[in-house]
């Protein structure tokens, strides 16, 4: 097999995540995209192509054909921009296509965005739209929402490994603490274990503060061939590996509920391609759509043994200053989760950390970071490993 051309991140940008009543879908994505171009010190005319991840714009804002919309509003006509969708992993999938576009030799400079505008509809309509990430015919149509699906996983994890509600809550407490140091985060307030445990029940044992919020926001990165990256930035971020795997879309078809097979397979592939082991990763952004998801993630990624993610979280081993800081951005829980944007935001946060630009939440000597982005209840997982050059 022909060796792929290596690719680097040369610029990043994002909007604040949150409830943007004053901005539309177009404004959000243009803001993030322009920030990334400026950060890369590159002009629009130099960009050859673009990809954008967005999950449910058709349902949420009545707009499809998102690639063309963005090419137009970014002033990038006539370059090709293509929308990619894989539920909450849409952003990472767009990032992967950007890498392939450069690796294939078809394009040199590619902008990759992720965006979602979710607050234009009510909670019920948004939940229905998000239900499209699961198996509509066998899950949502029969009444299961996403908190319901993840509560099944949480219950089984508690039953098999003795994971407790306090362990779950500790993830939210930690991610809010991280988020309090991130000016782009939707929630910049710290919360206590008691706040989480006493918060409203959504789907037992998951309470409202175990759940990531509904958010608006966008993130973008500029990619270039590694060999020319240094002429654009003093701090190119090298993409060591990217991997993607799938699992059954419905939860009831799986052999286990205590981990995501797609995450295990994709991370093993990503480690192998990068010639690394979990011990080589300095920090990670993982997909904590619910607190149980972060606990499963740090196990699936090999940072902790299966069943030990809960106690590790409770003990602070995944906090800033701990042995492997997880979700320094605040994660989906505190930074927010505009679904299509999340995967790209993870790359933005990794890049800031690897450049040493993460301000009050900087991981010391951050050299290698990993992003773990999940679609639905785990039918898609994308893993990207990035390194400071």
């Amino acid at each position: 097999m022909k060796e792929v051309r290596e690719v680097a991140v040369i610029g990043v940008g994002m909007t604040k995540f949150g409830e943007h009543w004053e901005k539309g879908f177009r404004e959000l994505v243009v803001e993030a995209g322009l920030k990334a171009l400026v950060d890369a010190g590159i002009h629009g005319e130099q960009i050859n192509a673009g990809y954008v991840g967005t999950m449910a714009s058709g349902t949420l804002i009545g707009q499809e054909h998102i690639g063309a919309l963005i090419a137009d509003y970014m002033g990038l006509n006539p370059i090709p921009i293509t929308r990619v969708e894989g539920a909450c992993a849409s952003g990472s999938l767009a990032f992967r296509q950007g890498i392939m576009a450069i690796a294939s030799g078809m394009h040199d400079f590619v902008v990759v965005g992720g965006v979602e505008k979710m607050t234009d509809l009510g909670t019920t309509e948004v939940s229905t739209a998000l239900g499209g990430a699961g198996d509509q015919e066998w899950e949502l149509f029969l009444g299961v929402t996403f908190p319901g699906l993840y509560s099944l996983m949480a219950c089984r994890h508690m039953y098999e490994f003795g994971t407790t509600e306090e362990m779950l809550a500790s993830v939210a407490v930690k991610n809010h603490k991280h988020g309090s140091k991130n000016k782009y985060a939707q929630y910049q307030n710290e919360i206590s274990m008691e706040d989480v445990l006493k918060s409203k029940m959504v789907a037992d044992p998951l309470k409202i503060l175990d759940c990531s919020p509904i958010s608006d926001g966008a993130a973008a990165v500029v990619l270039a061939p590694l060999e020319v990256a240094e002429s654009y930035t003093k701090k190119p971020i090298r993409i060591l590996s990217t991997a993607q795997a799938s699992d059954t879309i419905a939860l009831h078809s799986r052999k286990t509920l205590t981990g995501l097979r797609s995450a295990q397979i994709a991370s093993q592939e990503a480690y192998k391609k990068a010639k690394l082991t979990p011990k080589d990763i300095d920090f990670a952004e993982v997909h904590d759509c619910f607190t149980i998801a972060e606990i499963m993630a740090i196990e699936d990624l090999g940072f902790f043994k299966k069943g030990e993610g809960g106690i590790a979280s409770l003990e602070g081993r995944t906090a800033l200053g701990g042995e492997i800081p997880i979700n320094t951005s605040g994660g989906l829980k505190a930074c927010g989760h505009p679904v299509g944007a999340t995967g790209v935001k993870q790359i933005v946060e990794l890049s800031w950390q690897l450049r040493g630009e993460a301000e009050g939440r900087q991981v010391k000597d951050a050299t290698i970071g990993l992003a773990h982005n999940v679609g639905g209840s785990g039918a898609t997982t994308v893993i990207n490993i990035l390194k400071r050059e």
Copy 2:
């Protein structure tokens, strides 16, 4: 720039296009996908990745996360399958990503599908969903539907070049004649010029028989590196070039209404990459969502001078046996237009023609074919040029 690894089509398959009351989205895409695998003589275990084009599944059937759904229902877990969306060009965009995946060296064998299930909703809901291909905020929300947008183009083309309603109608008559020779076509009945001219007005001058229908259907192809293609099929189809360009999403922002700038730019790039001119193309599948669209397409592609596409159509120069047969499949008009499937169906038809397997509609000595797939009112155009090896 590193040279791309060349890619070939080694297997194709499709469902009949039409109103499939007896089949769901999943059944359609699995049927087409399995036919393509069987045609390629390849097992599912050999497939490394997949792409699928679908435009509006969220709105039409309440399902997103289509890549994962298909990986599951095709029995292809845990390989990555990714959904790509670009309105009616979604299928071609998926095809392009499949090419890039192989060209980049990341994957060797890739299955590409296109699918849409449109008849589960009423015409109004479907029209609203399709409106998402245009500029929702400035077009659909203000009352313009897609027939309305194309009627503006038709009116201007008639005004500038003297194109007549008979010339428009001749496209529909020809495509139904071609469709009558295609067992996969939604409409296999011939129609007369009088039938078209007397049919119900939709958006003056476009009548119902100037418009492509609402359809269900799926199509799929298997791609492989060119260097190994011959060990799988005696008739590999080489992809000479692929190109994609964008234009403003709203019609009112364009400098001209009588052609699509995206189609002109993408086709020029495709010709250049393939080192060909329009005269080298033996036949083409073009995006005749409305009869005027085919007339503009054959001009934008350089087969006829701007303004002469109408008379060329009326004179039969684009019919089977004419100088450049257009839409031997029946096109969107007669073969049907399940939007996400159309771009892939074009590749299936090109492959059948290039292999000499197009039965009663075979183009004599077909050596090089072109596919022209448009998203929305032209904000995206994808051009692919294929050659018999």
